[in-house]
Symmetry: D2
Subunit: 357 residues, 4 copies
Amino acid sequence: MNTLGNKLKVTVFGQSHAPAIGCVIDGLPAGFAPDMDRVAAFMARRAPGQNAWSTPRKESDTPEILSGLVDGRTCGAPVAMVIRNADQHSRDYSGLKRTPRPSHADYTAMVKYGENYDIRGGGQFSGRLTAPLCFAGAFALQLLEQRGITVAAHIGKIENIDDAPPDFASVSREDLEALLRKPFPVFDDTAGMNMRQAVEAARMEQDSVGGVIRCFVLGLPAGVGEPMFGGVENRLAAALFGIPAVRGVSFGTGFAAAGMRGSVHNDPFVMEDGRVRTRTNHAGGVLGGITSGMPLVVNIAVKPTASISREQETVDLETGENAPLVIHGRHDPCIVPRAVPVAEAVTALTVLDMMLE
Amino acid sequence: MNTLGNKLKVTVFGQSHAPAIGCVIDGLPAGFAPDMDRVAAFMARRAPGQNAWSTPRKESDTPEILSGLVDGRTCGAPVAMVIRNADQHSRDYSGLKRTPRPSHADYTAMVKYGENYDIRGGGQFSGRLTAPLCFAGAFALQLLEQRGITVAAHIGKIENIDDAPPDFASVSREDLEALLRKPFPVFDDTAGMNMRQAVEAARMEQDSVGGVIRCFVLGLPAGVGEPMFGGVENRLAAALFGIPAVRGVSFGTGFAAAGMRGSVHNDPFVMEDGRVRTRTNHAGGVLGGITSGMPLVVNIAVKPTASISREQETVDLETGENAPLVIHGRHDPCIVPRAVPVAEAVTALTVLDMMLE
Amino acid sequence: MNTLGNKLKVTVFGQSHAPAIGCVIDGLPAGFAPDMDRVAAFMARRAPGQNAWSTPRKESDTPEILSGLVDGRTCGAPVAMVIRNADQHSRDYSGLKRTPRPSHADYTAMVKYGENYDIRGGGQFSGRLTAPLCFAGAFALQLLEQRGITVAAHIGKIENIDDAPPDFASVSREDLEALLRKPFPVFDDTAGMNMRQAVEAARMEQDSVGGVIRCFVLGLPAGVGEPMFGGVENRLAAALFGIPAVRGVSFGTGFAAAGMRGSVHNDPFVMEDGRVRTRTNHAGGVLGGITSGMPLVVNIAVKPTASISREQETVDLETGENAPLVIHGRHDPCIVPRAVPVAEAVTALTVLDMMLE
Amino acid sequence: MNTLGNKLKVTVFGQSHAPAIGCVIDGLPAGFAPDMDRVAAFMARRAPGQNAWSTPRKESDTPEILSGLVDGRTCGAPVAMVIRNADQHSRDYSGLKRTPRPSHADYTAMVKYGENYDIRGGGQFSGRLTAPLCFAGAFALQLLEQRGITVAAHIGKIENIDDAPPDFASVSREDLEALLRKPFPVFDDTAGMNMRQAVEAARMEQDSVGGVIRCFVLGLPAGVGEPMFGGVENRLAAALFGIPAVRGVSFGTGFAAAGMRGSVHNDPFVMEDGRVRTRTNHAGGVLGGITSGMPLVVNIAVKPTASISREQETVDLETGENAPLVIHGRHDPCIVPRAVPVAEAVTALTVLDMMLE
């Protein structure tokens, strides 16, 4: 349910307005000394209130580590981490139980959990729960880096504006490092500027926009993954759909492959410096569930933020009548930028888990 | 690895040229009397050699049930089923180990399993392994039907030709039943004819085409699924990527949601005959990993068949040189039509598993 | 690793000298209002320093609940709980890494985790980690009680003194309730007095003693459990061996069954008030992994406390020489009494998990 | 349910009177060439009808391998194996559903599965299902042998006669090899003769006897196993309770530890030839769930065969009255000798699984 992974297990807990959120990471190799400044920097990429394009609400997401580290090194015991939830607006949320917000989990959660469901701030379905995922992912990213593996994602698309990604067969570590240095991670900064304008335009119109995140993994050896239901695609998709608002996951050329001929889509094998590579990389680095040694490319579709401030239609569950709804509070008009590190975190955790198995 | 499901577990085994393929289904409710004629009819939809648009190679896929049924009813013990592999072309496959086929699992499987990998006919990665999945799925479909749940898929797209699906909010049981009666399951038969012509054109040019399958589940109650990593999307995606050639999985409006505004994408709640519904169904029937009671809609991108008969580039792993490759044998120029029942089977197994939990 | 259960999952974290210990409970039914006073009372049964027969070290085991409860009721999100570790003796533990304590996990943990293993106070292998298990178990016990199920254990044996348990076929709810009221839970209080004297005698001689805990579950319906590897015995044993110092788990007549004839050991079926019962209950309530409706009886062998204060032999891992060892600190001469609620907790969690599946 | 293991998974299927029994082994390393003569010899140790002390019923347990082997070597795909059930006595079993056999799974299986349960010959609860386990175990034993690990069990006790095992700290590979060569594996052949007489005496009196199997694993490196719920004890117990008739599992000194003082039970560490060993091995090779490098010792209590031919009491489920029962057919008066290879098989599978993780 709230646990990700087999050999490296991350259990996430908390609700938006509970005393705290956090996670337990079990299965980390002993003796690992995480660079906590980099963990904090990585988590900051997800935090709200930092940019024009995200909500001004501030979180003081200072993680407290409760176990698993001794003198800054993992000792073999699970690493437990807690982030206190401070200063929540204590207004009345009970109305939301009467009038569920369109395209939120309010309604389905109430069907499942009944009237005890914690609807305040989205409860356990809040995007805030991705903060512990980023904490755990930051550990995984450092452990992957020690193995020569780099994970980085760009904003592939926002509304109708596409970024210009490099060729999937030749994307380089330099490309990814440049991406990781950018506050708004796109390859084409003009596209990035247009994207930000699209977000701003949506905000002005009390609306929101969606987008696509594309995550690359470089340096993965060939041969990782299991056949059929244990493939890299199966595992990554199962994990990535755990990020709120994700509506689709595809690999390499993805859904566009459906419109292609085999003669175009097939990736010819070629020898290069004594290594087997493919000339193109429509496959996105996975064949038959197993990595090919080419860059892993995974595309993640993110829907527009469901919380918009213009009036919407919903139902009043008490009266059984249709009812108008206006959602208050501040919300990101586009969560794609903040979801980028979350996608990297979940990808890193899953890839590391498969390598540890 | 080769096992799908938690409470209802299907373990698939076999290789294309092993003595047999088959599966073990554990966790079926006792007392269920599968209609074996319908199981056979369902499996026939996947079988090759039946239509102009599939390979002429014949399989005699007669499943033999080894356990789990007594007097035609499940007794609580696992149902084991075997299909003998008959009359394989006994030609030499060893060349394939030298020159892996582009976009096949040949190369990655050899990296993983070494020289002992069974490359004949695609080994354990052969599409033939989907026959046992269809067998198991046929059981699940009947059990779902007993619960008032219908599963059916259409060919949403082949190459650049799109079918015209009904509105996701109002697709009806009649729509699905009509689909299930068609040998080439599309809503718009003109589009279907054009699709078949596109397949034929690809074949004539020694090429292949991909497509999209869209699977609907009707009658699912609201409240099925778990949050975060246990959601309907996580579970279905993890299962569907086990079907060979699947490159993407999305729900409802899917990747197109990335280009939409929230005001358009959000599905307004409305009361209808005392039930909560949504006016549109961009969500595809799932909110926060939990079913909403609206039709479940999952889209599956299928790449063009990798085996094409025109000459391709590959490498000779023995000499370490680039080498041309011509693949012999008969192959579907488009596997999408035969993958439709496989998608239904895997969807049914996963949905039933979640309901049994 | 540190997670117990399938549908009801408990993840335990912490080390004896980490900032905290705690657990995450996922899968509790929503709407459950735990009686926190009874949770505290249950945890107090495990806490040290309360009786003549346990170590005088005090713990202030006040659990703080971080998530999963709203207005005292479970909301469907995981319940996370933390207990701070206060006032640890800050003496030097590094010597223990040189001279591992006999029959402790010191040595094997160092082989597994290397020099980073947290040896202070037994690290993650400390009996203190059973406090979160008791917290989780207290929830499970209340949920079982709501279903008419009572779990209680007695001290079956300490050193060579046996308690006199009731007949396994006729043990009653009153028997168990009487047990639960006793600070030293035995059926025969004279035996109990002798046991306490045996513990005291061992302490006087700087030694320790082991014992047997026998746990009963009353009110379980027939038909719970799965065949082969999913049986009640498999699941309970897998869980109970997670309690430190447990060396054996058996059901009903247990190892004594090995010395019996079938004509004696077989439990004859009889009708009683229209219900099927067995005249005897050597089976301990389980046949073929599935509950029979008779009282569930599980026996748990606990070794004598490994930490004794008399001088012992060990090795100096630095010099590679044999070396004498004197263990300082206060230790229970017999952990059996404090392990009784732990056994009840783990049994309750496992039984509830099987019922929720 | 019917699947054992994580990384190495064995799924068992079949019923006593189904067309077949068998198993699927997933996760075997590719390139392994099992010695099939030794597999057959190992399976023969479990087969009935070979000795005075087992039932004269003959099985022709010739396993047919359906997949996973190419030219005698594992290819990475699951190994599926089938044994046909031949020549079952086709007499009427329906009476058993009315009058369940004491201490059999008849009754509990009917509660769980209803009237469709396959009661013929014990159905899926039949000891015959251990034949596939032995097949899979024979593979595991050979793979362990390649890693220098030997697994062998002796009959520790039958009724009230004990074998004389070697010291747990000094049991040698030669001891185990001698054991493996004996048709009746005991260390003390006089005790063995007395055991066989006890079995014969029970048979003469239409009765049965139980016993204890003790399994040793030599050559296991230190450091295998996970803490808390992932320990060697947890995993082995969960697996061994899957063998029919097992009532208890303990490690090293086991339940006798409960009667010992710590000063006696503790195993002093000593250096020997530069290696850390323990002078005694009451722990049975496991501390804190993790192997110590000392011989692994696991004790398994087996109840007396439930099927005895003397008249017993049961109930008639149709009339709701008590009723006498006479069980027909031939049954082992003691299944302990035939369960020895089963215990070795399950132990080997579990140990190998833990090492592959």
